[in-house]
């Protein structure tokens, strides 16, 4: 085969692809042209606003360098580019909230260790997985000690926490605490004991029937009323209680789906081998059910992660809360788009990552089973 034939083949491959996917008929060609114009308009508008016309003159040290009128003027996007100064100026708050800046290394350390703590759960074919799992169990205590403080470290109250720290704290801790609770709820819902079953059903359906915001309100206003004097959980803890209960109900339904997919024969075989209920559940049913249930579980986790933004309404400063606080500053009042686009981007990175992971798992499950 000579070089020219190869060239022709490879060119015709692209050509075929173009014809098939973009210009298969005259209707399709018109649609393609319309879509191209649309993409160009939207894309150039956004890129001009976000990058080419944007103002980046502001550094991470928060030094005020610019005296630029339009950053505080009432502007429409398109007239001027973005003024990213607000993000740089408030970077520390977006990341740590009001956490004392000389202690911020503690938060950074936990941010850096977090991937190591969850990698063992996410992937089952990594070297030294067992040690990663050990680390997963140590991590919550380490994180508590590092973030809150204790012997040797100064105590930083949760009222100083904010930004991404609160968002991640609520998301990760909520999911971690909800997981065991949701397994119990899912098992309880499938239990043969009518009272346990109905308690679980009522709990799950109640939580799923009301908006998270009402649960947050309830936890915020009523938890202090329920508890004896002296026991007064702070705002973050109250939100955590609501978020955990909320997540456990949704996760329980995902796990129940997995439990229902296990053939009865599995349980019967285990019973005929003389295994007790808990042995059957722990060694036969749950490992199989959880494997099937992981993709829907991850989907509930994405939902929860997004829902952590609701804590802004009860006065906590998560990412969105910090953003709104920044906008309340007279210098920056008109920079909505910059702040909300930035926050959207942060949430998008986390949630899109999780949804990709869920897709990867679904594919893997399919190949594992066939």
């Amino acid at each position: 085969m000579s070089a020219t034939t190869i060239q022709i083949i490879s060119r015709s491959k692209y050509y075929n692809w173009l014809v098939k996917n973009l210009f298969s008929s005259w209707v399709n060609t018109i649609l393609t042209v319309i879509a191209l114009i649309f993409v160009y308009q939207v894309g150039s508008f956004f890129l001009n606003w976000a990058i080419f016309d944007a103002d980046f003159r502001y550094n991470f040290q928060g030094e005020l360098i610019i005296d630029r009128g339009f950053c505080s003027k009432n502007i429409m996007p398109g007239e001027y580019g973005a003024c990213w100064a607000i993000i740089f100026a408030r970077w520390n708050q977006f990341m740590y909230g009001l956490y004392p800046i000389e202690e911020a290394w503690r938060v950074n350390l936990i941010y850096a260790l977090l991937p190591l703590a969850i990698i063992g759960i996410l992937f089952d074919k990594i070297p030294f997985r067992r040690y990663f799992i050990y680390f997963t169990f140590i991590f919550p205590f380490l994180a508590y000690f590092m973030l809150y403080g204790g012997p040797g470290l100064s105590v930083v109250g949760t009222n100083k926490w904010g930004g991404l720290l609160v968002t991640l704290f609520l998301g990760v801790t909520g999911i971690g605490l909800a997981f065991p609770l949701s397994i119990l709820l899912a098992l309880g819902r499938r239990s043969k004991m009518p009272i346990i079953k109905s308690l679980c059903v009522v709990f799950i359906e109640f939580i799923r029937g009301v908006p998270l915001i009402t649960l947050l309100f309830t936890a915020n206003v009523m938890l202090p009323l329920f508890l004896p004097d002296g026991v007064n959980p702070d705002n973050l803890l109250r939100a955590l209680v609501a978020v955990t209960l909320f997540q456990s109900a949704y996760m329980a339904e995902a796990i129940r789906g997995g439990l229902q997919a296990i053939p009865r024969g599995q349980v019967e075989a285990a019973q005929s081998l003389g295994l007790s209920y808990w042995q059957t559940t722990r060694k036969i049913v749950l490992p199989q059910a959880l494997k099937i249930a992981i993709p829907p579980i991850v989907n509930t986790c994405i939902g929860l992660f997004k829902d952590t933004s609701l804590v802004l309404i009860i006065g906590l400063f998560d990412l969105l809360g910090i953003g709104r606080a920044a906008l309340a500053d007279m210098t920056w009042t008109k920079l909505y788009y910059e702040v909300y686009v930035f926050i959207s981007l942060v949430f998008f990175i986390f949630c899109f990552g999780m949804s990709r992971y869920s897709l990867y798992l679904e594919k893997k499950l399919k190949t594992d089973n066939s």
Binding site: I196, P211, V221, L225, Y337, Y340
Partner: protein, 389 residues
């Protein structure tokens, strides 16, 4: 003897489960008892009274977005109903818009045009991976950043887009308009029977009728004819700029629009995914078989693909409607006066009856959720496979 008795309890399944359940009930009752005791004690110590008498006290605050008249002298109970109606209004409008966008995007996602399908994909990924609250606030701030009343964007001469909302002419119904409205209702009922009749005819003779065209014509033209017969009994009151605001016409507030856009754009992304997977789930053989029978492509879609896809689409669609309704409670973030904002927020702060009010709000949402799932389940049953259990 005694050991035997214990043995029996522990190793006999029935008595053991009885024991466990008794224990659970006991613990649960103890838990409830302790909490109520503690709450009563705490309430007394803080001097908070309880009960539902506050519902009949005048609320003392105003609600700008309302479907029924409300002034600050009206009671908290009325504020509850104003909020409930606002919640239902945004939920119904949101579900409606989300369904339309969702179905459109879902179908575009399956388009053979690569560019089209990927634009839809980008839309879906970007909207469903950003919290709905962020989106609501973002769209709301875009709406607030529209031109001021004086520089309003004018659309078709009588519609004004401003940072105070969307102003449009309001209809004024004169005598005889009810006859036009009734003619529309009768036309719709008539087409319903006509459709049945034509279908029967088609089954008998095999001849096809353009049922859809005939019925659309009837529904559109009957009211128009009656409108002219009755002497055009409909006028519009256009908004006119007077001083600092518009007089006349009606206004859709930015709070409502922000909620509507946020909720429906967010939920539509999820709906489009269920629509897409529903259509994919119909096996290829079905389409090929109907092509082999010589059906036209729009008939294949309407008679073969969509009825089967609906079976897969309805259950997740239901849960999306439920999610949208629950998410409508986020109105509090931008000041949309729904149940949580007005009654659950301001009334709660004024009366301090946290337990009663949160109880009412939660039970209301539960009732709405259960009602939606009840009706969607009914509909679901009607589209599921019949007969071959």
């Amino acid at each position: 003897m005694q050991t035997n008795f214990f043995r029996k309890i522990i190793f006999d399944e029935k008595s053991r489960s009885l024991l466990i359940q008794t224990l659970v009930i006991g613990l649960f009752a103890l838990f409830i008892y302790l909490i109520t005791q503690q709450t009563a004690y705490n309430l007394e110590k803080r001097g908070i009274s309880s009960g539902f008498d506050f519902l009949h006290i005048s609320a003392g605050y105003d609600i700008s977005i309302r479907l029924i008249p409300f002034t600050s002298e009206d009671t908290h109970l009325r504020a509850y109903f104003v909020g409930l109606l606002n919640t239902l209004m945004i939920a119904v409008c949101g579900c409606f818009l989300a369904t339309i966008i969702g179905f459109l995007v879902g179908i575009i996602r399956l388009s053979s045009n690569w560019l089209f399908r990927n634009i839809a994909y980008v839309y879906v990924e970007f909207t469903r991976n950003v919290p709905v609250l962020v989106q609501i606030i973002l769209y709301y701030s875009i709406l607030l950043n529209l031109p001021k009343i004086k520089q309003a964007i004018v659309i078709f001469d009588n519609f004004y887009l401003t940072n105070r909302g969307f102003f449009s002419p309001s209809p004024i119904f004169k005598d005889g308009f009810s006859i036009v409205a009734w003619s529309l209702v009768i036309a719709i009922i008539f087409t319903f029977f006509l459709k049945r009749f034509l279908k029967k005819k088609q089954e008998e003779t095999g001849k096809q009728y353009p049922t859809f065209m005939i019925n659309s014509a009837i529904i559109i033209f009957t009211p128009i004819i009656f409108y002219y017969i009755m002497g055009m009994p409909l006028e519009f009151d256009s908004p006119v700029l007077k001083g600092f605001n518009f007089k006349g016409g009606m206004v859709i507030r930015p709070e409502f629009l922000g909620m509507l856009f946020g909720l429906s754009i967010y939920t539509a992304a999820f709906i489009s995914e269920t629509v897409r997977s529903g259509i994919i789930s119909v096996s290829k053989g079905q389409r090929e078989a109907s092509q082999a029978l010589g059906l036209k492509s729009n008939f294949i879609m309407r008679l073969i693909i969509i009825p089967q896809a609906l079976r897969v689409i309805i259950p997740p669609l239901t849960s999306q409607y439920l999610n949208l309704t629950k998410n409508s409670s986020l109105g509090i973030a931008i000041g949309y006066a729904d149940l949580v904002h007005g009654f659950g927020g301001i009334s709660l702060n004024q009366t301090g009856r946290a337990i009663e009010i949160m109880m009412m709000v939660m039970l209301t949402y539960l009732t709405i959720s259960l009602t939606i799932s009840f009706f969607m389940n009914l509909y679901n049953k009607s589209v599921q496979f019949k007969g071959n259990a």
